[in-house]
Symmetry: D2
C-alpha cells in the first residue's frame, strides 16, 4: 500500500525533527571533557555517555530491529548496557553501576549514534507499519526529556567537583526576573483539564475531564531568591513547625540548610551555576529545591502550593517557563488513563506512585517540549532538577 501525500509530509517533518534533536543532544555535550561523560556521583545522576547511548538504543530497539529487514545491531552487548531496565542474564553475574563502566568509550558511543542515525535516514522508504512513525515521534520526545536530564546531570557532576569547573560561558541564561505583583484570582466552578487537540502529548496528559475548583488566587511569578533568603534568615530550616514530618527528618538527616548548589562562603550566599560559581541573585527565581522545601516555604509564608489543576487553569494568565514548579498534587492517573500495550505502555504509568507533580518548564527544557498540560514528576526529596515554586491561596 502506498503512503498518502499528506502522510509523506508528516514523515518528512518527523525526520527533520529527528535530525535536529539528535544534533542538539550532541551540542549539549560539546563543552564536556571525556572524563565528564563517565562519572555517576549519585544513583539518580547518569553518566552523560549513558544518555547518549540509551537514547540511541531506544531507536535501535523499537524502530530498527522490528522494522528493518536484515538490520544488524551495532553491538549485542549494548542491549544490557543501555537498557534502563537492565537485568543480567545467565550465570555471568556481574554487578555494576553505570558510573563504574569505563567501556564502551565515548568515541564508541558516538560511532553507535552515527550508525543508528544512518539507518534511520533510510526509514523514509519504508511502509508505515506497526505504528512506526508514532514510535519515532515518541523517541524524539524521549530524547528531548534526556536532554534536560543531561543538563541536570552535567550540572551535578561539575557542581560537586571541588574545582567548580564552568560548563559553558555561552550559557548565560536569559531568565525572567521575578516581581512581587498582585496574584490572579479565579472563581469557583468546574474546569476542563488535560490535553486537547492533535499535537503530541504523553499518555499521562490524556483523558480530558472536569475538575471542580473552589475560588483561588495564584501568584503571577514564581518565588524569588530574595524571598527565599528571608525564609532562611528567619530560621526556616530550623523550625519544625513549617515542615512535614518526613521533610523534617530529611532536613536533619542530610544537614540541609539551603537549596542545592548554594554555598555560604566568606559571609555570603554563593550559587554554582553552569557558568561557574557566583553570588545568589535575589531577583531570579529560586531553583533546586525539594518538595519538602517548597512546602515549608509556603507554610512559612502563610500560603500554600497550587494544585496541578489550579496551575493548568491559571497557566495562560501567569508567567511561567524557567522553573519547574512543585504543586500540591500527587502524580496519579487521570480518571480515564489507559496504558498502551507492550513495553511502550510502561512509559509513564508505572511511575504513578510516591511522586509529586511539577508543572511549567525550566531553562533546561528543550524548545518545543513544553506544554501547559505537561505533567513532570519527582519524588519529594529530589532537587537536582531545575525546580522552584509558586504560591497560591
Amino acid at each position: 500500500m502506498d503512503t498518502l501525500p499528506e502522510q509523506r509530509d508528516i514523515q518528512q517533518h518527523l525526520l527533520d525533527s529527528y535530525r535536529l534533536v539528535r544534533k542538539h543532544t550532541e551540542s549539549i555535550c560539546a563543552p564536556l571533557q571525556t572524563e565528564d561523560y563517565v562519572v555517576q556521583p549519585i544513583g539518580d545522576v547518569s553518566p552523560p555517555k549513558w544518555h547518549l547511548g540509551h537514547t540511541t538504543w531506544f531507536f535501535e530497539t523499537f524502530i530498527l530491529v522490528p522494522n528493518m529487514d536484515g538490520y544488524r545491531v551495532f553491538d549485542p552487548h549494548f542491549d544490557y548496557v543501555f537498557n534502563s531496565y537492565y537485568e543480567t542474564v545467565g550465570a555471568r553475574v556481574i554487578r555494576t553501576d553505570r558510573g563504574n563502566l569505563s567501556r564502551p568509550t565515548v568515541a564508541e558511543i558516538f560511532q553507535y549514534r552515527k550508525y543508528v542515525d544512518a539507518h534511520i535516514e533510510q526509514l523514509g522508504s519504508l511502509d508505515s507499519k506497526n505504528g512506526l512513525w508514532d514510535i519515532l515521534e515518541l523517541g524524539i520526545h524521549h530524547e528531548q526529556q534526556h536532554q534536560e536530564l543531561l543538563l541536570m546531570d552535567i550540572k551535578y557532576i561539575l557542581g560537586h567537583n571541588p574545582l567548580f569547573p564552568m560548563y559553558s560561558n555561552e550559557m548565560v541564561l536569559d531568565e525572567l526576573e521575578v516581581v512581587r505583583e498582585v496574584p490572579v484570582a479565579f472563581s469557583e466552578g468546574a474546569y476542563w483539564i488535560g490535553h486537547k487537540g492533535k499535537g503530541f502529548c504523553f499518555d499521562n496528559e490524556k483523558g480530558r475531564h472536569l475538575v471542580y475548583l473552589d475560588t483561588f488566587e495564584i501568584a503571577q511569578h514564581p518565588v524569588g531568591n530574595g524571598e527565599y533568603l528571608e525564609f532562611i534568615q528567619d530560621g526556616g530550616y530550623t523550625d519544625f513547625r513549617f515542615w512535614h514530618a518526613a521533610g523534617w527528618d530529611w532536613v536533619n538527616k542530610n544537614h540541609i540548610k539551603a537549596p542545592l548548589y548554594w554555598h555560604f562562603m566568606d559571609g555570603q550566599w554563593m550559587e554554582y551555576g553552569l557558568q561557574g560559581i557566583h553570588e545568589v541573585d535575589p531577583k531570579k527565581a529560586v531553583c533546586h529545591i525539594s518538595y519538602y522545601e517548597a512546602a515549608a516555604f509556603a507554610a512559612w509564608s502563610g500560603k500554600r502550593l497550587p494544585t496541578e489543576t489550579e496551575w493548568e487553569v491559571a497557566s495562560e494568565q501567569i508567567k511561567w517557563g524557567h522553573r519547574w514548579e512543585w504543586t500540591e498534587s500527587a502524580y496519579l492517573p487521570y480518571p480515564k488513563f489507559k496504558k498502551a500495550k507492550g513495553a511502550i505502555g510502561e512509559y509513564n504509568g508505572k511511575f504513578m506512585v510516591d511522586q509529586m507533580v511539577l508543572r511549567g518548564a525550566s531553562v533546561a527544557t528543550p524548545k518545543g517540549h513544553s506544554r501547559k498540560t505537561y505533567r513532570n514528576f519527582f519524588q519529594t526529596d529530589r532537587r537536582w532538577q531545575f525546580s522552584g515554586l509558586r504560591l497560591a491561596k
Copy 2:
C-alpha cells in the same frame, strides 16, 4: 463564670467516654505476658507498654499540666520516654529505640495510668478554659487510634515469634464473608465530600467541598482471599507488568510472595491470626497487603482502585467495615484545610505527604471510631495494618 447545664451534660458524657476508652485499652492488653509489652521487632511497631504510656502522657501534658493548679507530673523523665517526638536534651546523649527500654516497667506504667485517671476524674469541677474539653475529646479519639495500633503491633510481635503464640481464643472475629456481586454504578456529576454535622471528626475530614466525578462502578464487597489466591497462582508476584516500578523493586528486594502473615506450609497457604495459625479462608476479605500489592492486584484484574472520593460517594451502598481499603488517592489536604494552632495542630497536617488514603474500618477499629468520611493513611509499602482492597472501574 458558671458552666451551663447543657455543657455539664456534654462534660459528663465525655468523662464517661474517657472511662470506657481507658478501660478498653487495658482489656486489649489483658491476654499479654509482661514480656510481650516490651519488644519492638521493627521500627513501625511500638512496644505495647509504650502505647499505654504515650496515651496517658497525652492527657497529662495537654490537660492536667496546663489546667490543674499544683499538678505534679508522675515522673519528669516520662516526658521524653513517652513523647512521640522525643529528642534528647543536653550533654547526656543516649541513643535508644523504644524496644531497648526495659524501664519503666509495665507495672510502673499501669500506676502512671491510675495516677492520671484519678486526676482526670477531678476535671468536672474545673472551668472550661483553653478548649480543655475539646482536647479531652481529641485525647479520647487519640487513644482509640492507639487501640487499633496496639492490636496491629501485638499481632506483629506474636506473629513474628517462631512459636506463633495465640493472642486470644475469644477473638474469633465475626467477619463478613465476601461475595462476588454486580458492582454499583454512579452517574457523572459534582458530589459533596467531607465531614458534615456536629459530631466529632479529625481536622483532615473538614472543609466540605464539591468534587466532579465521571461515571464509575464500584464493587459491593472487598476482594476475597479466594480471588487473591488466583492472583498468586497466576504468577501475580513474578510478572513486572502488573506493578509500579517502585512496587516491583519492593517485591524483589524483600522477596514478597504473599500477604503479610501468610506462610506456605506443607503444600498449603496458612495465615497467622490473633487466634493462632490457620488455613487461609477463601471467603474472607484479603488482609495485610501493601498499596503496591493492591494496585498490582487491580491491574491484574483489569480494573482499578477507587479514589477516596468515589469511595465516600458510594459508602452507603456498599458493604464495608472489616478491612481498611486502599484507594488511589494520595493523602493531601482538602482545599480548605487549616491547621490548629500549637502542638495539637500538628496532629494530621504534617503527615500529608508520601502516603496514600485508606477508607473504611477494620476488625481492630474500636466501636464508635469509624465514619464514612474518615481518612486513614499509610505509606505505600506498609502492610501491618489490617488493609485490603476493593475494585472500581
Copy 3:
C-alpha cells in the same frame, strides 16, 4: 563396666560444681525485673533470658539427649531459639533477632532450667561414656563464661536506659586501687607459654611452647582513671597521631570522647556503674575501653601494650584481676593447636581471626574461672566487656 572410686569422686565434685554454677547464674539475675530479661539494645548484647536458656540448652543437647535413654526434650522449638547458630529450617522463613522474641517467657525458661537440672541430677547413675563428664565440665565453664556475659549485657541494658536504674546496691565491688609504682623488668630469653598441669583449661591455652622474648618492662598495675583523664584533657581523642587509622575512623564515625558509660554532666565526668551513676574515681583502673583506645593511650604515654606472652611471663609479679587487659597480640592459634572433633571442636578455633587477646580477669569473672594462661578475645572496637590496659616498654 563399673566406675572406679576415684572417678566417682570426680563425678561427685563435678555435680557439686554444676549445682553451684547453676545457682549462681540465677542469683546474678535476681535483681532484674521481668522486662530487663527481654531487650537487646545492640547485636552484641543478648537478652538475659537468652543466656538462661542457651546455657541450659547446652546441657540438654550435649549431655542429656545423647546419653539418657528416653529423654524427652523440654520443647522441640527451643533448639532454634537457644542455639547460638540458629538457622531457620524449611519454608516457614521468619527472621527475628533475639531481642524481638517475647516468648518463651522468663517463667517458662526458669521451668526449662529446673527440668534440665532435675535430669542432670540423675547422671550419677550413668556409665561414663562418650566423654560425658568432660563435656559436663566444659558446660560448667561455658556457663561461667555466660555469667560474665550476663553482667556485661545487664550493665549495657540498664546503663543505656535514660533512667539509669541501679542493678544492685550490694554490688559495691571491692576493687584494687591502682598505684604508680616502678615497673618490673624481665631479661631476654626463651620462656615457656601455655597451660600446664591437670586442671581444666580451654583448648586455646593448650600446646605449651617456647617463645623468645627481648628484655621488657611491665607496669605493676593497670592504668587508672586519673591517668586516663589526663589523656582526655590533653586532647587524646582529637589528635590523630595517637591512633591507628582504623581507630581514628572509629572515633570520628562514632563521636567517641571517653570510655563507654562515661558522661560529662554539669562540668564533671560521671560513670554509670552497676550501683548507678557516680563520679569517676581516679584511683580505680580505667574500664570499658576498646583496643583502639588502649593503643592510643599507650602511644600518648610513649609506651606500648604488652604482648600476651610478656603478660603471661610477668603474671606472677604484677597485680591483676579486676580488669581484662588488652594486649598487643592477635588472637591466633598456638603452634600446636588442635580442634576437637564435632560441634565441641568449634568452641574456640573458629573465632581465631580479626580479634585481639585480653589477659587477666575482671570484677565480673566468676570465682575459679580465671587463670594466668586464660586467653580472652574481643574485636578491636568492642568495649562493653570490663576491659582496661597495662603499659609495657
Copy 4:
C-alpha cells in the same frame, strides 16, 4: 657544606631510579583509554588517574615544597584532591568520592607529572638537608607500591565491565607452574627475623630479633588452581566446618563460590586475566583469594598456613614470587618497632591492626621491589590483590 663524592654517586643513582620508576608508571597506563582512568567501582579501588596524581603529590609535598626556595605548587587545589587523607576544610563542604571527580582531567595530571619531574631534576644542585635524599628514596618505593596497586585496580575496573575488555596482549605473564613436591622441613630453635644490611627497607621490617620456632614443614610451591578446584568440587564453599565464623558470614553474605574473577560459563570455570577471559589453568597458582578462603582451604587440606616467621626462615629454600601468600600472622609491630617523626612516620605503623601479613611478591610487583623480609598486609576479606597461599604443617 659540599656534598662528598660518594654521596654524589648515591644521589645520581637515586635520580636515575626516579626517572625509571616515573616512566614505568606511565608505561603501565599506556594501554588505557581516557575513560578507564576515571572510575572507582568499589571504595578500595582508586581511579588510575588518582594514583598518577597522588604519587606526584608525594614528591611535591615532601621534597619540593620544603626544600626548593620559591617553588610554586602546580595547583593549590591538588592538595586535597590527591592527599590520601583528604578532609575538606571550611564551610564549603562537598562530599565526593574519588570516582566522582571528572576533573582534573587525565591530560592535566600528566602535565602535573611533567612539572614536578622537571623540578626534581634540579635537585642535584641542592644541599642534602632535612633527610631530602631519604625521602626521595621513600617516594620512589612509594610509587612502586602504587604501580602494583595500579595493576590491581585496572584489573578490577576492566574485569568488572560486562564487556571484559583486554588490558594488554603483551602482558602474557611468564608465571611459574606449580608442582606438588615434598615439603621442606626445618628444625626447632631460635631464628633471626627482620631486615639486615644497608639496602632500603620499610620501617616495619626493621628491628631484627630472635623468634623461637618448633619443627615445621613448608611446601615448595604455592597451591595451584588444580588443587583449589578440588576444594570447590568437594563442597569447600558450602561446609561451615572449614571456615572461621567471620569467614562463614562473609561467604554467605556475599554469595562467594570461587576466587575473584572466576566465572562458571557453559559448564567450565573461566578466569578474567589482564589479557581477557580464559580457562582456569590448573597448573598455575591460585590467585585473588581472601584470607578466609586461604584458611578454609588449609583446613580442608588438613594443614595450615605458615606464620610469617616460618615463611621468612624458609624463604631461600622454596619457590616464591608470583603470588602474595597469606600467612597465619597478624600485622603487628616487631618488638623494636619505632615510628619516624612527622607525617612520614605514619607510613606503616598506623595500619598495624585488623590485618594479616602476606609474604612473597606477585606478577604485578615491580622489579627490585621484593625482599624476603617484605611485609605486605591486607584485611581478611580483601582479594583484589594478587594473593594465593602456601601450606605448612
